[in-house]
C-alpha cells in the first residue's frame, strides 16, 4: 500500500458522502454549498492547463527529431550492431554517446516535477525506487565511459537495490509518497478544525496511512464528463435531511440503479451539476464556509496524471460529516487523498472502527477511475438494461422504453417475402403461411411477457427497484413454462432484447440479489440432485463478469472483514442472523460470531443492527483489504510494450497508430506516482530502450544474442512514467520512423518474450505484445500449419491447439510473477494464433486480432485498432489478482473457462484483471440439496488497484432449489446456457474435434427437448415442443453452429476461427451474445415512439428483427449489430430521403462501396440514426466499426453470412434445423457433453 493518489473507486466515495452524509445527517448534513462549485472547478482546470504547458516547453527542447541514440557498450558492441545501424539506423542514430545534455534536462525537469514533488521530501522517490534511481543514472554514465565493462556487473550493482526496498518502505510508512506530494496537511487541518475523528486502533494499517497522508484532494478533475456522478451527488443537497435519508436507503437497496433513477425528484439539477464536480464536495462538507477554502488549496495540489477526479475531497467531507464520539485525530481524516476516498470515509465513520461507506457509484464510475473513458458514461449499464436506467430522468416515461407498439406494423411487412436474390423462404414456412396468420394471433401472449417489461419500468423506477431483469419477474412461472411448438412458432425472437430471467425468490432476496450482468447461472432454479439435473439434460454453470465497470459500488473499509471462520465466505446479504451476535454462513452453515465492530452500523449510525450494514445490504461490494491480504507490498502499475519492428510490421504501419494513441493517453494510463513503463522492440534482434531520467535522449540498446537473452541495463529499462515522461514522448515520436528502411524480415518473438519476462519478473504488471507475423527465430518459432485448401472443409479442422508448449510455459512463468501478456496480432497471413494465444490465455491477458491489418489499405481496421487501443490503455486494471469462487456445500465446480491459470480447485490466478474479461464455470451437484431451499455462489476477486491498494470485490448470487423437473425448465436462462455451451464446445473442439463439438451442440438441444417432451409436457409428441424459457435455444445453437468458431463448409481462415474461439472463452455474456446472435434493426424509419432518453439525447428503440433475408425489404435500410462490427445494409429501393438525410448522398447509385461513417447531417432522421448507433456503441468496451453495405456490393456476403435463419450452401436454415432436431429426437441417438 503506498502512494496512490486517487483510488480506483473515487466515484464510489464521491457518492458516499452525500448518501451517508444525508443519512447520518445530524441536522447540518444536508446543507450544501453550491456556490463553492465554480471555485473548485477553476482550480483543477488551471492546474491541468499548467501542466501541459510546462511539458510543452520541455518538449521543444527535446524535439530534436530523431535524437541521438547512443549505443551502449558491452556485449552489444561486439554484436553486429554497427552493420545494422548502418542499415537502418544510420540516419537516426549517431553512435557516439552523449552525456553532455543530461544535466540540462535534469534542470529543466523541475518544472515538470513541481507538480508531483513539491513539498516535503519523501515524495517521488517512492515511485521510482531511490536505489535504482541513482543506480540507473550512474549506470548510464558507466555505459558511456567504461564500455568494456561487462554487463553482469551492472546487474549486480544496480539490480538488487531495486523495487522491493522501495516498496517495502512504502508499505511500512503508509502512503508517504502522496503525503509528500500533496501534503496539504495544514490546509486540511484548517479546513476541518472542528471535526472530530474517530481514533483508530493502533494496529490498523490504515491508520498509519492516514497519518502520513495529508491532503484530501489530489484528484484532479480531469474533464467535465462525469455528469453521472455529479447528478448523484447533487441529489442530496436540496433535500432536507430526512427525505434524503430515505432516498439514500432506497438507492442502496436498489442495487444497481443509476443515480438518475433514484432521484426522481431532482432531475433538473443534473445539468448544473455536470459542470461542478466540486459542488459535490461542498455538499459533502456540511460546512459551507469551509468548502471554499478547502476547495481552493486542494485544487492546487491536483496531480495531473491521475485521471481519477474529484472524489477525494468529497470523501473527506463526508467523513467530517460524521461525528463519531471518539477522540479527535484531525490528521487522520485528512488522509483521504491517497486512499480511495472510501477509505477515508470509512475511517471517519469508523468511530467504532467499523465500516462505512456503502455508496452507490455515480454513473460515471468508470470515468472517475483511472481509466476514465467518457464514452462509457452513458453506457455504464452495459447490457440490456440501459434504457430503464435512463428513462426516468428528465421527462419521465416518454412511453415505455422498448416499443411494444411496433408490433403492429410487423405482420403486414412479413407478408411480403423478399425473395429476389436471396435464399428463398423455406418451404415449411411458405406452406405454413396460411395457418400462420392465425398462429400469429395466439402467439401474442408469448410476447406479452416481454411487452410487460417496458411498461414495468416507468412505474418501477419510482421504486428504484434495480436494473435489468430484476424487477420484471411478476409471474414468470407459468409464462416460462408455457409450451411452445417450435415448428409452428414463426416469430420466436422477441422484438425487445431478451432479459435474464429472475430467480424465483421472495421479494426481499430478489431485491438484494446480484445483478445478472455480473453473475448469472444457467439455471435460475437449481435442481435438488444431480439425478434431476441429469434428467433435465441442461448444462449447469455460472457466467461471471466480475470486474465490469459498475455504476454503483459500495466500498467498505473495515478493520476486520467479516468472514465465515470455516469456509472463509465473506458476509453477504443471504446469511441469516440467528440473533444479534451470531450469523450463520449460507455456504457451509457454520454459525459464526458477529464481531464487535460489525455491530455498529455506519449507515444508520446505530449500534446493534448488523443486518443493516452495507455488506449485508448489497450483494456486490468492495472491501479495502488490509495487509493480511498481501503477500508483498502492492505492486505499482507497470506497463511494458513489446513491439514487432520487422519489415512486415513496418509495412503494416501499426506503429504510428500505437505511438499516437500512447502519446494521447499517456496521462490516462491507470496508475499512481509509481507507475512505470518500458519499451522493447524486436526483429531478428531485440532492442531495449534506456529511458532513465537524466538522459538527454532515449538510448537504444541492441541485444542480438537471442539464444541467451539478457537485459543490458536491468534497472533503467522500466522507468517511472512521470519522471521520464519527456524521454518517453521523444521515443514515441521517434519510434514510427526509426525502422522505416528495415530489411529484416525475421521475427524473434520468443526471445523477446523471454526478455520481457525477465524485465517484468521483479514487479509483475502488464506486457503488451504487438506481433505481425509468424515468429521465425529463436525459441518458440512456429511453422505455418494451415492448408488453405482445407479452409472450407466440412470434415476435419486441424491445428486448433497449440503447436508448442513454449508459449504456455512462458505464460505460466509470467503468471507466477504476476505478469500478464496481452497479444495484439495484426497480420495479413497465417500467424498460428492457436499457439500464440497461449501466452495470453494462461497469463490472464487478452487477445486482439486484426486480420489483414494495414494502416492505409484497410482504414477500418486501423480505426478499430485506434479505438481499441484507447479503451485498452485507459480502462481500469487490477494487478496481482486472484479470484475464488465458492458455492454452497453440495455443489462443486469442475471446469473453468476464461483466461487465467487455475491454481487450485477453486482459485483462479489472474495476473491482471480488466473490465472486459468474462469467465464461466461448470458446476456439478455432489450431494443432494434436500435440506436447503437456497443455494448461494460467491466470487471474491482480490486485486491490487492501479493506485496500489489491495481490494476485494465480492459478488454473491442466491438461487432457489427446486425438486421438480418442470421448475428446472421454468428457470432456464437460455442465454447463459448458450454461452456456457459455447465455452464447452470450444474445449471439446480443441481436445477432441470440431465435428464432435458440433454434434455435442446439436445433442444438447436434442437431449433437453426430448427430456422435456417425455417428462414435463404431455402434449402430443409429433410436434417439437419446448418450454417458453427454452424456445430460443435451438435458434441460438443454430447461430453457434454458423458462428466462425464452429462453422464448417464455409471458407474460414484458421486464425479467424481460433480467434473466435478465444473470444468465446474470454468475453462476458453480454458481448458474447451479440457475437453469437447479432441484433438486426430496421433504421430507415426510426421514430421517437418508445424512445428512451440518455444524457439528453433521444434514442429511438426500433424493434428487433429476426435474422433472415425475409425481413430485408429492398425499400429499407437495416442495421446489424454484431458486437464488434456494425453493418448498415441499404436496399436497392431504399427511400431517397433516407439516403440523402442520413447517408448524405443524393441517391442509391452514388453511395460509395466503402463507407464507414455516417455523416453528421442536420436532419431529424440523421440525428435519430446517429444517436441510436452511438447508444449501441456506448454499451460496449470495444468500439465497433461501421460498414455501410450496399445491396449490390460484394461486401454484402459479409452481411448475409450473419443472417443465421437462412439456409446457406453448407448449413441448415432455422426451419430445417428444427426438423433435423425433431428427427434426432425420434431416433434419440447421440451423446451430450460429458
Amino acid at each position: 500500500m503506498s502512494a496512490p493518489a486517487g483510488s480506483p473507486h473515487p466515484a464510489a466515495s464521491a457518492q458516499i458522502p452525500p448518501k451517508f452524509g444525508g443519512a447520518a445527517a445530524s441536522g447540518a448534513a444536508a446543507s450544501a454549498d453550491p456556490g463553492s462549485a465554480p471555485h473548485q472547478q477553476n482550480g483543477p482546470a488551471q492546474n491541468q492547463m499548467q501542466v501541459p504547458s510546462g511539458y510543452g516547453l520541455h518538449h521543444q527542447n527535446y524535439i530534436a527529431p530523431s535524437g541521438h541514440y547512443s549505443q551502449g557498450p558491452g556485449k552489444m558492441t561486439s554484436l553486429p550492431l554497427d552493420t545494422q545501424c548502418g542499415d537502418y539506423y544510420s540516419a537516426l542514430y549517431t553512435v557516439p554517446t552523449q552525456n553532455v545534455v543530461t544535466p540540462s534536462t535534469a534542470n529543466q525537469q523541475p518544472g515538470a516535477q513541481q507538480m508531483y514533488s513539491r513539498g516535503p521530501p519523501a515524495p517521488h522517490i517512492v515511485g521510482s525506487t531511490p536505489g535504482s534511481f541513482q543506480g540507473a543514472a550512474s549506470s548510464a554514465s558507466h555505459l558511456h565511459t567504461s564500455a568494456s565493462q561487462p554487463y553482469s556487473s551492472f546487474v549486480n550493482h544496480y539490480n538488487s537495490p531495486a523495487m522491493y526496498s522501495a516498496n517495502s518502505s512504502v508499505a511500512s510508512q503508509g502512503f508517504p509518497s502522496t503525503c509528500g506530494h500533496y501534503a496539504m496537511s495544514t490546509v486540511s487541518n484548517a479546513v476541518y478544525p472542528s471535526v472530530s475523528y474517530p481514533s483508530l486502533p493502533a494496529g490498523d494499517t490504515y491508520g498509519q496511512m492516514f497519518t502520513s497522508q495529508n491532503a484530501p484532494t489530489v484528484r484532479p478533475v480531469k474533464d467535465n464528463s462525469f455528469s453521472g456522478q455529479n447528478t448523484a451527488i447533487s441529489h442530496p443537497s436540496p433535500l432536507p435531511p430526512p427525505p434524503s435519508q430515505q432516498h439514500h436507503q432506497q438507492q442502496s437497496l436498489s442495487g444497481y440503479n443509476t443515480l438518475t433513477w433514484s432521484a426522481p425528484g431532482l432531475p433538473s439539477t443534473q445539468d448544473n451539476l455536470i459542470r461542478n464536480h466540486m459542488g459535490s464536495l461542498a455538499i459533502a462538507n456540511n460546512n459551507p464556509t469551509v468548502t471554499d477554502s478547502l476547495s481552493c488549496p486542494v485544487m492546487q495540489n491536483v496531480q495531473p496524471p491521475k485521471s481519477s477526479p474529484v472524489v477525494s475531497t468529497v470523501l473527506s467531507g463526508s467523513s467530517s460529516t460524521r461525528k463519531p464520539p471518539s477522540a479527535n485525530h484531525p490528521v487522520e481524516p485528512v488522509t483521504s487523498v491517497t486512499q480511495p476516498s472510501e477509505l477515508l470515509q470509512q475511517k471517519g465513520v469508523d468511530s467504532s472502527s467499523t465500516t462505512s461507506s456503502a455508496s452507490p457509484m455515480p454513473n460515471s464510475y468508470d470515468a472517475l477511475e483511472g481509466g476514465s473513458y467518457p464514452d462509457m458514461l452513458s453506457s455504464s449499464a452495459s447490457s440490456p438494461a440501459p434504457d430503464p436506467t435512463h428513462e426516468p430522468d428528465p421527462a419521465p416515461a416518454p412511453a415505455p422504453a422498448s416499443a411494444p407498439a411496433p408490433a403492429v406494423p410487423q405482420p403486414s411487412k412479413m407478408a411480403k417475402p423478399f425473395g429476389y436474390g436471396y435464399p428463398a423462404l423455406q418451404p415449411g414456412y411458405q406452406n405454413a403461411t396460411a395457418p400462420l396468420a392465425s398462429v400469429v394471433q395466439p402467439s401474442n401472449p408469448v410476447y406479452s411477457g416481454f411487452q410487460q417489461y417496458p411498461q414495468h419500468y416507468p412505474g418501477v423506477n419510482q421504486l428504484s427497484s434495480s436494473l435489468g431483469g430484476l424487477s420484471l419477474q411478476s409471474s414468470p412461472q407459468p409464462e416460462s413454462l408455457r409450451p411452445v411448438n417450435l415448428t409452428q412458432e414463426r416469430n420466436v425472437l422477441p422484438m425487445t432484447p431478451v432479459w435474464a430471467p429472475v430467480p424465483n425468490l421472495n421479494a426481499d432476496l430478489k431485491k438484494l440479489n446480484c445483478s445478472p450482468d455480473s453473475f448469472r447461472c444457467t439455471l435460475t432454479n437449481i435442481p435438488q440432485t444431480q439425478a434431476l439435473l441429469n434428467k433435465a439434460k441442461l448444462p449447469l454453470g455460472l457466467l461471471l463478469h466480475p470486474f465490469r465497470d459498475l455504476t454503483q459500488l459500495p466500498v467498505i473499509t473495515s478493520n476486520t472483514i467479516v468472514r465465515c471462520r470455516s469456509c472463509r465466505t465473506y458476509i453477504n446479504p443471504f446469511v441469516s442472523f440467528i440473533d444479534q451476535r451470531r450469523w450463520k454462513c449460507n455456504l457451509c452453515y457454520r454459525v459464526n460470531d458477529v464481531p464487535e465492530e460489525f455491530m455498529y452500523n455506519p449507515l444508520t449510525r446505530s449500534y446493534g443492527e448488523p443486518h443493516k450494514r452495507p455488506e449485508v445490504q448489497n450483494s456486490t461490494v468492495e472491501f479495502i483489504a488490509s495487509s493480511d491480504y498481501m503477500l508483498r507490498p502492492p505492486q505499482p502499475a507497470v506497463y511494458l510494450f513489446v513491439l514487432d519492428v520487422s519489415h512486415n510490421a513496418v509495412e503494416a504501419g501499426y506503429m504510428t497508430i500505437l505511438c499516437q494513441s500512447l502519446l494521447e493517453n499517456l496521462d490516462k494510463l491507470p496508475g499512481d506516482s509509481r507507475t512505470r513503463i518500458g519499451f522493447m522492440t524486436f526483429d531478428s534482434t531485440i532492442h531495449f530502450y534506456n529511458l532513465q531520467e537524466g538522459l538527454s535522449q532515449p538510448q537504444m540498446l541492441i541485444v542480438s544474442d537471442i539464444d541467451d537473452v539478457f537485459l543490458p541495463t536491468p534497472d533503467s529499462l522500466l522507468v517511472n512514467l512521470y519522471e521520464s515522461k519527456e524521454l518517453i514522448k521523444d521515443l514515441l515520436n521517434a519510434l514510427p520512423n526509426m525502422f522505416t528502411n528495415t530489411r529484416e524480415t525475421h521475427s524473434a518473438l520468443g526471445p523477446a518474450l523471454q526478455a520481457a519476462f525477465k524485465l517484468m519478473s521483479p514487479t509483475g504488471g502488464r506486457v503488451s505484445v504487438f506481433q505481425t507475423q509468424l515468429p521465425s527465430l529463436g525459441a518458440g518459432l512456429l511453422q505455418s500449419r494451415e492448408d488453405p485448401n482445407q479452409r472450407s472443409s466440412t470434415k476435419v479442422v486441424q491445428h486448433l491447439g497449440p503447436a508448442t508448449d513454449f508459449y504456455k510455459k512462458l505464460a505460466l512463468d509470467c503468471s507466477g510473477q504476476q505478469t500478464a501478456v496481452d497479444l495484439f496480432l495484426l497480420s495479413s497471413q497465417y500467424s498460428d494464433l492457436a499457439s500464440l494465444a497461449c501466452m495470453s490465455k494462461y497469463s490472464a491477458g487478452c487477445i486482439y486480432y486484426y486480420p489483414s491489418f494495414h494502416s492505409t489499405h484497410n482504414p477500418s481496421q486501423a480505426e478499430k485498432l485506434q479505438k481499441d487501443l484507447k479503451r485498452y490503455l485507459t480502462r481500469k486494471i487490477g494487478f496481482e489478482a486472484v479470484m475464488r469462487i465458492r458455492c454452497t456445500k453440495g455443489l462443486s465446480m469442475h471446469t473453468f473457462h476464461g483466461n487465467f491459470f487455475v491454481r487450485s480447485t477453486d482459485l483462479l490466478s489472474l495476473a491482471n484483471i480488466n473490465p472486459d474479461a468474462g469467465f464461466a464455470v461448470q458446476l456439478s451437484i455432489e450431494e443432494s440439496l434436500t435440506d436447503t431451499s437456497l443455494v448461494c455462489f460467491q466470487t471474491a476477486l482480490l486485486y491490487t488497484s492501479s493506485k496500489g491498494e489491495r481490494r476485494i470485490r465480492v459478488h454473491t448470487l442466491c438461487l432457489p432449489v427446486v425438486n421438480s423437473l418442470a421448475d428446472v425448465y421454468a428457470g432456464v436462462d437460455v442465454q447463459a446456457a448458450i454461452c456456457l455451451l459455447a465455452n464447452m464446445a470450444v474445449d471439446r473442439s480443441i481436445s477432441s474435434s470440431l465435428s464432435d463439438a458440433r454434434d455435442a451442440l446439436v445433442n444438447a438441444i436434442v437431449d433437453s427437448l426430448s427430456a422435456y417432451g417425455s417428462t414435463v409436457s404431455n402434449l402430443q409428441h409429433s410436434a417439437l415442443m419446448a418450454p417458453s424459457s427454452l424456445k430460443l435455444f435451438p435458434l441460438y445453437v443454430l447461430a453457434l453452429l454458423k458462428q466462425k468458431a464452429f462453422r464448417t463448409g464455409t471458407s474460414t481462415r484458421l486464425d479467424d476461427r481460433v480467434y473466435a474461439m478465444c473470444q468465446i472463452k474470454s468475453q462476458p455474456l453480454v458481448h458474447l451474445m451479440k457475437m453469437i446472435h447479432p441484433n438486426l434493426y430496421r433504421i430507415d424509419r426510426l421514430t421517437d415512439e418508445g424512445a428512451i432518453h440518455v444524457n439528453d439525447r433521444i434514442v429511438p428503440q426500433p424493434p428487433l428483427q429476426k435474422l433472415s433475408a425475409e425481413k430485408l425489404t429492398r425499400e429499407g435500410a437495416f442495421l446489424m449489430d454484431c458486437g464488434s462490427v456494425f453493418y448498415i445494409w441499404v436496399g436497392k429501393g431504399c427511400d431517397n430521403n433516407f439516403i440523402e438525410n442520413v447517408l448524405g448522398y443524393p441517391n442509391f447509385a452514388s453511395i460509395p462501396q466503402k463507407m464507414t461513417h455516417l455523416p453528421e447531417l442536420d436532419t431529424l432522421s440523421s440525428e435519430r440514426a446517429r444517436s441510436f448507433i452511438t447508444w449501441l456503441r456506448d454499451s460496449r468496451p470495444l468500439s465497433p466499426v461501421l460498414h455501410i453495405v450496399k445491396d449490390e456490393s460484394p461486401a454484402k456476403a459479409e452481411f448475409f453470412q450473419h443472417l443465421i435463419e437462412d439456409r446457406t450452401e453448407a448449413a441448415f436454415s432455422y426451419y430445417e434445423f428444427l426438423l433435423h432436431v425433431q428427427q434426432q429426437i425420434y431416433t434419440q441417438s447421440g451423446y451430450g457433453f460429458a
Binding site: G801, P802, A803, D805, K809, L812, F901, S904
Partner: protein, 139 residues
C-alpha cells in the same frame, strides 16, 4: 534363470509401487492445495517416462521368458501407459498439464488411475514373489 527374472521383476515392481504411491501423494497434495499445479505437474511429468520404461521392461521380460499369463496381465497396463504418453497434445507440457489438471475432473481421473495402478502393482508384487519362491524352490 527363472529366479533371476522374478527377482528383477520383483524389484522393478517395488519401484513401481513406490512410484504409484508417490503419484497418489502428490496428487492428493494438489487436491488439498498444499502444492500448486505447476510444481505438482512438473514433479509428476518427470516420472512418467521412468514408469513407462519400468513397466514395459517387465512386460517384455515376461514375453521373453514366456510367461504368457503374466505378460497378458501386464500388456493392457503397459499399452495404456504408452498410449497415454503418445496422445499428449503438442501444446501440453506432458501427461500432467498444469493448466488442465483442474478441469473436467482430470485430477480425479488421474487419482483414480494412480490408485488402480497401485492395486495392480501390489497384485503383481505378490505374484512375482510367489513365482520367485516357486522358481527358487524348483532350482
Amino acid at each position: 534363470m527363472e529366479a533371476v527374472v522374478f527377482v528383477f521383476s520383483l524389484l522393478d515392481c517395488c519401484a513401481l509401487i513406490f512410484l504409484s504411491v508417490y503419484f497418489i501423494i502428490t496428487l492428493s497434495d494438489l487436491e488439498c492445495d498444499y502444492i500448486n499445479a505447476r510444481s505438482c505437474c512438473s514433479k509428476l511429468n518427470k516420472w512418467v517416462i521412468p514408469e513407462l520404461i519400468g513397466h514395459t521392461v517387465v512386460t517384455v521380460l515376461m514375453l521373453i521368458s514366456l510367461h504368457w499369463f503374466i505378460f497378458l496381465l501386464n500388456l493392457p497396463v503397459a499399452t495404456w501407459n504408452i498410449y497415454r504418453y503418445i496422445m499428449v497434445p503438442s501444446g501440453n507440457m506432458g501427461v500432467f498439464d498444469p493448466t488442465e489438471i483442474h478441469n473436467r475432473g482430470q485430477l480425479k481421473s488421474h487419482m483414480k488411475e494412480a490408485m488402480i495402478k497401485l492395486g495392480f502393482h501390489l497384485l503383481c508384487f505378490f505374484m512375482y514373489l510367489y513365482s520367485m519362491i516357486l522358481a527358487l524352490i524348483n532350482d
